[in-house]
Amino acid sequence: MLGLALILLFTGCSDLRSQVSHQWTQAWQAQRSYHDGLVRYDAKDYRGAIRYFARALAHDPAFDDAETRLAWSYYYVGDYPQATRHFRQALARQPRWEGLHTGLGWTRYRLGRYHLALEAFQAALALDPRYRDAAVGRAYALFELRQYAEALQELARLTREGAYFYFPAPDSDVEEVRSRYAWCLYYTGGYQQARDEFVKGIQAHPKREGLHNGLGWTYLKLGDRAKARESFERALQLEPDYADARAGLAEANR
């Protein structure tokens, strides 16, 4: 009787030991793959990173950081459907992680799914109202949905904050946000203000053809054909195949 109990105990312990050992090995391999992936991710080798993060997930399917980095890696290589899939899977486990909502928002934005993008950015902002990247995404999605009045307020704030709150090193996205703000002003009829913002943008980035093009269309609305022509010509010097600038120049010459 005692012998049987000892055999059962020994067998049971052996199974347990083997199970623990297997789990430990899986977890260790997941961590190792994740760190190998991070090295590639930090070096912007996103294709290389994908291989390692996917391997980490194979070892530990609930490894949130690995799945998030995998989603961003897919985002950076332009595989938006895969990015969507992984952001959604991670969000199913971590619904209160605002960075995941923002990642899903930008992925949807790149796919032109602006309604869904807006929902994702709003979910992120509900968790963290000061989350700039989510606020920028929300404003861009509103802009694409032609809800200019709503986008305008947000873009005005983001441009102001980006330029001054981060002094002496303005936030890296500020000129892009300013450009969107200027276009929003243009579409809502604030032509003089739009002109001022396009001019500020050009001072910071004189070689951005889109800003010269925007300034050209704004001058046209303000009735200054000579300056409009000058702006369109500058845009076309920088990008000779710029169809919108060419259309603007034709309009200015009419």
């Binding site: 789990q23 609930a62 980095r69």
Partner: protein, 81 residues
């Protein structure tokens, strides 16, 4: 056959009724336009959601082999990398 109003008061009342009817019509039309716009937005949103779901389902692969283990992942990344 139309009947001319017999007094100024009656005429005003008739005009007011007509104006009310027109206003109500405009209000209804405005509401109809707003409803149609809202419906169009909702349809567009639903189309996007259906597209996304179909795409994700198409990408679903068999679960990774191996026994799932307890998560070692922590949620530290809160901004877009």
């Amino acid at each position: 056959m139309s009947v001319d109003p017999v007094s100024g008061a009656a005429m005003t009342a008739a005009d007011m009724r007509k104006q009310d009817v027109q206003d109500a019509g405009l209000r209804n039309r405005g509401e109809a336009v707003r409803t149609a716009a809202r419906d169009a937005q909702q349809d567009a949103r639903n189309r996007e959601a259906a597209e996304e779901d179909a795409e994700v389902v198409a990408l679903e692969m068999p679960a990774p082999s191996g026994t799932p283990t307890a998560s070692m992942g922590t949620t530290t990344t809160t901004t877009r990398p």
